[in-house]
Structures are given as C-alpha cells and as structure tokens.
C-alpha cells in the first residue's frame, strides 16, 4: 500500500535535509522567504498518476513531463469555487505570456460518476481550452491521487451528498516535483511572478 501511495520512496538524503532546513527556517524567521507562494518543495511526493483525459485517452504523469503543472481537484457541479479557480488559472496562464505553452492545468474530478470525459471536456473548454485538461478515472485511482496530495475526498454515496474538496492548487515543476500550494487568496500577479521565476529557473 505504501508503494502505491508514494510510488518509489526516494527519501534522498538531500531532500530530507532540505525539508529539515525549511522547517528550521520556518521556526527561525521567514524574512528571507524566496517565494511569495507557499513553498512545499520536498514535502509532497512527485507527480504520479494514471487516469483518463477529457479526450478519452489514458494519460499519466509522463504525458506532462516537461510542463509546469497546476493540479486541482473539483467537480463540474460545483457552484462557486471550481469555476472561479478555473477562471483564475486561465488568467494566470494568460499572464505567463510565451511560457503558457509549457504550462498545463489539470482538473481532476472528484465526481467520476457524473463527470464523464465528454462532460469534463465541455466544462473545461469553457474556461481554458488548449491549456487545461480534465481528468477522470475510477474511484480508487482518484482516491490514490487525493491521498498522495492529502486532499479531502470521499466517494459520493448518494446523489444528494455534498462533496468536499481542497481549495489549493498544487504546482509541479517541469520535472514533476511538488513546488507550491496556491491558495484562493494569492493574487494573480503574485502567482504569475513566482511561476515565471520557476519556469525560468528550470529552462
């Protein structure tokens, strides 16, 4: 189960030291914070999944190797948060200018029963076609992904169930390492600034 959860456990010494250093920096002072966003480098496992895209194709993390990935969880029936997050992410991608080609928004549905690839495709296209991909799969596949990133998910039992979902957008660098948590309070300018720097540094 562990291997399934975290893939290959690459507890590299350097990474552990980096998380120790970060923790120490958090205890001491964070005046020298390099990034405006929540830096989570070394704290969450690398991007790894195997799901179905809104085009009906099986996709994995390898499909998005070399892209800056903004991953978030939601469902098309969501009233407020999901549309506004998608709208914000579309603006952020626009703000990246030329680098938008190296960026992908991955919207993972928490309601695979309702959100078929077709439904997802229609929904995603309304916001950011070209740069956004809707992902769906079976409940186990989605649960493994949410668990990997500590996002809340309980499969819908009845139609009237309210689904809870995470508010954060997880940012992965082109190498697939988890780098930032974007919160709904971060301004678009802030996010664009940090993502530009991240993309520049990983050229």
């Amino acid at each position: 189960m562990h291997d399934r959860l975290f893939g290959k456990r690459n507890l590299k010494f350097g990474r552990t030291m980096r998380s120790v250093a970060l923790t120490l920096a958090l205890i001491g002072c964070d005046t020298e914070r390099q990034w405006q966003l929540h830096d989570i480098t070394g704290h969450l496992p690398d991007l790894r999944f195997s799901l179905m895209s809104d085009a009906g194709q099986p996709v994995t993390d390898q499909t998005y190797q070399g892209y800056l990935v903004m991953l978030f969880f939601g469902f098309t029936n969501c009233q407020a948060e999901c549309p506004s997050t998608l709208f914000r992410l579309a603006k952020i991608v626009q703000g990246l200018g030329d680098s938008e080609k190296r960026t992908r928004i991955l919207f993972v549905t928490l309601d695979p029963g309702r959100d078929s690839p077709q439904v997802l495709h229609r929904y995603i296209s309304a916001f950011a076609s070209g740069h956004a991909v809707g992902l769906t799969g079976n409940e186990t596949g989605i649960e493994n992904l949410t668990k990997r990133y500590r996002a809340a998910y309980r499969p819908r039992q009845t139609d009237t169930d309210e689904l809870s979902h995470s508010a954060a957008v997880y940012v992965f660098d082109p190498q697939g390492h988890a780098r930032f948590l974007v919160t709904p309070d971060d301004s678009i300018v802030t996010v664009v600034g940090d993502l530009r720097r991240l993309l520049d540094s990983s050229r």
Binding site: L11, S19, I27, D30, A152, S164, T183
Partner: protein, 263 residues
C-alpha cells in the same frame, strides 16, 4: 460506510502494526505469568486499542481533514491512551512477557550509561513539564502545523512524539514507586494546566483562520466553517488539559491514601 470499512487503515504504517502487535503479545504472555486485576487489563486494552484506533483506521482521514478531529486524536495520543496504559501498571507484565533473549537485551540497554543521563534529564519534573507543554505548543505553531499536516513523514513524527511523550509524562506522575514525592508529582500535573488552557484559549479566541491547511487540503465536514472547526479544536485542548490533570491528581491522592504508611 460499512462498520468494517472503518477499520481499514487510512494510511497504513508498519511501525504502528508491529509495535501494537508486539506490545499486545508481550502483555498477553505476561498476564498469563503475573496475576493482574481485571481493572488493570481493562485499562491496558482500552489504552492500547484507542491509540491504534485513532492512528490506524479511517479516523485518521478525519483527523487529517478537520482541526477538531485532529485535536481529539492528539487528546487520545498524548493524554488518554498513555494515561490508561500507565494506569494499568503494565511494566511487570510486559517484562514477564519478554522471552529470555529480550530480557538480556533490556538489561544491556538499561546498563548503558549515556542512557541513564538522558533518562535523568527527561524525567526531571521541570524538563518533563516543559517537554509536555512545549510539544503541544510546537506542533500547534501555525507554520509547523502547516508542514506537519502536509508531509506524511513529519505527520508521523508528530503522532509518535505525542505518544512517547505522553507515556513519559504520565508514567512519571502516576508511578507510585517514583523517586519524586506525591506533592511534586501533583505539582507537575497542576503545572501543565495553565499553559494548555492558554494555548486552547488563544486558538478559541483567534478571529481569523490559524490553520488554513485544512481549507487548502479540503475539509471532511462540508457544513462546518473553518472558524467553528478551529473554535471546537481550541475548546478541546482548553478543557481536556484541566480534566486529565484533575483525574490524575484524584487517582494519585486515592493511591497515596490507600498505601500503607511507614511509622
């Protein structure tokens, strides 16, 4: 959810399984050799099973996704579970449960000098009180809590440190063979109350969200606002602090009154 599904570990940990099973086997073997009261066995099993239940079942999912459940989990890990295990005085039974090779290993470890110094420092009343309260405060610092709820390694370190520190503290104050007088042990239990009340009250009265990680990673209970969640969590710490110490003090007084007096 089907009741049996609740027992499926949310995130399985071999360390939790192995330590729980080994402790249970040692206790069963030991209780066949030593005569234990029913009350002792009951305390031990409730203590051990409650520790297992909050760390290795679906309860862990809710503890990761609701601050007040996290506080209830900490209450069991740091207070209730260790308290009950210590109360059952399992030392003799556990030692008797060890096979011969294990006993030799224990003798070797307990003869290790640096270990003695460490134990002396850890079991000093002042350091035990500071460590007990400091650990609660440390893991509740917003920036530390943020990372602890995100990184599974730090999350486990947090839970293990809570259990070990709980066993250490309650073992020190409830042990009637301790070298510290009943008065100083009561003093220790009283000393941990005000800081915990203070931290609980600070959390309860903070008008903004102290622990946004629960919103960011998603809340288990959709109907509950982040501030309500935070307030209930604060109250749990606020109230249990006094509660556990008062129960501990009453038990200690009861034990001391019953103990034969030396003339």
């Amino acid at each position: 959810m089907n009741p049996l599904q609740w027992l499926v570990p949310w995130e399985s940990s071999f360390a939790v399984i192995i330590i729980t099973v080994v402790t249970a086997i040692l206790f069963i073997r030991g209780s066949l050799k030593c005569r234990l009261l029913f009350r002792q066995k009951l305390c031990f099993w409730i203590g051990l099973l409650s520790l297992y239940a909050v760390s290795h079942t679906q309860i862990d999912y809710y503890a990761e996704h609701a601050f007040f459940v996290h506080q209830l989990q900490s209450l069991v890990l740091h207070h209730l579970g260790p308290f009950l295990i210590v109360l059952s005085c399992p030392k003799e039974a556990l030692l008797a449960g060890f096979p011969v090779a294990g006993k030799r290993l224990i003798r070797m470890v307990s003869g290790w000098k640096p270990g003695h110094y460490l134990v002396n420092v850890l079991l000093h009343p002042a350091s035990a009180v500071i460590l007990f309260v400091g650990l609660i405060a440390f893991w509740l610092l917003p920036s530390i809590h943020f990372i602890a709820m995100l990184d599974w390694r730090i999350y486990r370190l947090m839970n293990w440190s809570m259990v070990l520190n709980g066993l250490l503290f309650w073992g020190l104050v409830l042990n009637s063979h301790s070298k510290w007088s009943p008065g100083s042990r009561i003093g220790m239990m009283l000393a941990v109350i005000p800081p915990q009340i203070l931290i609980g009250a600070l959390i309860f009265f903070t008008p903004h969200e102290l622990y946004p990680i629960y919103t960011l990673c998603g809340r288990a209970f959709t109907g509950m606002s982040s501030i309500t969640d935070q307030q209930i969590g604060g109250l749990i710490l606020w109230m249990n602090a006094a509660m556990m110490s008062v129960i501990g003090i009453l038990i200690l007084i009861h034990k001391e009154l019953r103990a034969p007096k030396l003339v």
